[in-house]
């Protein structure tokens, strides 16, 4: 059982990282979007392994159900999907490798050399505790997030419709 769980965990790690590589390096945008689906799904599975049940569900609902749908709409609306030259070119690829390698080496050193203080508690349902935290300790940020979402909703509608009246 333990072995099976570990095997599935590594499958999800490979799925997450592999599809993220496809997201970044595939030359067709629509393939990148569908690879992003698997990355987000893999991250949700990692949340399950981290005992974050509510977050895994919200990741699936909001990211896979909401944001990804939005991005697919964006791809379809801002490019001629049926045409063959939708393939995009990248620029400064070799120049960008330098900061990536530097930042990556720094992160790797940091992760491996820091003496982490690990305290794992038993797995428990988190939804009730999260709700209590949101309405007590994080009440102000919760309300700020609500206002942010409302203003983003209205602003996005206004932006997207702005030039339609002038056509």
């Amino acid at each position: 059982m333990q072995l099976l769980s570990e095997l599935i965990f590594w499958c999800f790690v490979v799925l997450t990282v592999g599809s993220a590589i496809v997201v970044v390096f595939h030359s067709r945008v629509i393939y990148s979007v569908f690879a992003l689906l698997f990355t987000l799904f893999g991250v949700a599975a990692l949340y399950v392994y981290l005992a974050a049940d509510f977050l895994a569900a919200s990741q699936l609902l909001i990211y896979v159900g909401g944001i990804l749908t939005l991005i697919i709409f964006g791809v379809f609306l801002t490019s001629k999907v049926m045409s063959l030259n939708i393939a995009e070119q990248s620029h400064q690829r070799w120049l960008a490798v330098i900061p990536i390698v530097l930042v990556g080496a720094g992160l790797l050193m940091l992760i491996l050399t820091t003496p982490w203080e690990i305290k794992i508690s038993a797995v428990r349902p988190t939804t009730q505790e999260l709700g209590q935290l949101l309405l007590t300790d994080y009440l102000v940020s919760f309300e700020a997030a609500s206002i942010l979402l409302l203003s983003a909703l209205i602003g996005a509608m206004r932006l997207a419709r702005f030039f339609r009246t002038e056509d």
Partner: protein, 101 residues
């Protein structure tokens, strides 16, 4: 499997891939996907530290806010891309130079 460094490594790889996409991609939507990768990496880090510090849920709340902000950001960014596409008939970020005098 219950190893903190594995999660941190996965998160670091996601962050670096996202950073690479943001720096090299020309299509605005690919840049947006890079930003989503970066946000996911940070949320994964928050949840990881939440799990490995005796189940303290503050990190999970932070990750929840990351997801909320990512949703708002994606909606506004795509509205802006649609407008740029309508005006310039392109979704390349370096063609969007309307404010460049």
């Amino acid at each position: 499997m219950y190893n903190l460094t594995i999660y941190l490594m996965v998160s670091a790889v996601l962050f670096l891939l996202g950073l690479f996409a943001v720096m090299t991609r020309k299509n605005a939507i690919s840049v947006l996907m890079g930003i989503e990768l970066i946000l996911n990496a940070s949320a994964l880090n928050f949840v990881t530290f939440s799990h490995f510090s005796s189940g303290n849920l503050n990190g999970q709340v932070a990750a929840l806010f990351v997801i909320i902000i990512a949703a708002a950001e994606a909606a506004v960014a795509l509205a802006i891309f649609l407008n740029i596409f309508r005006i310039k008939a392109t979704s390349q970020v370096d063609k969007a130079d309307l404010l460049q005098g």
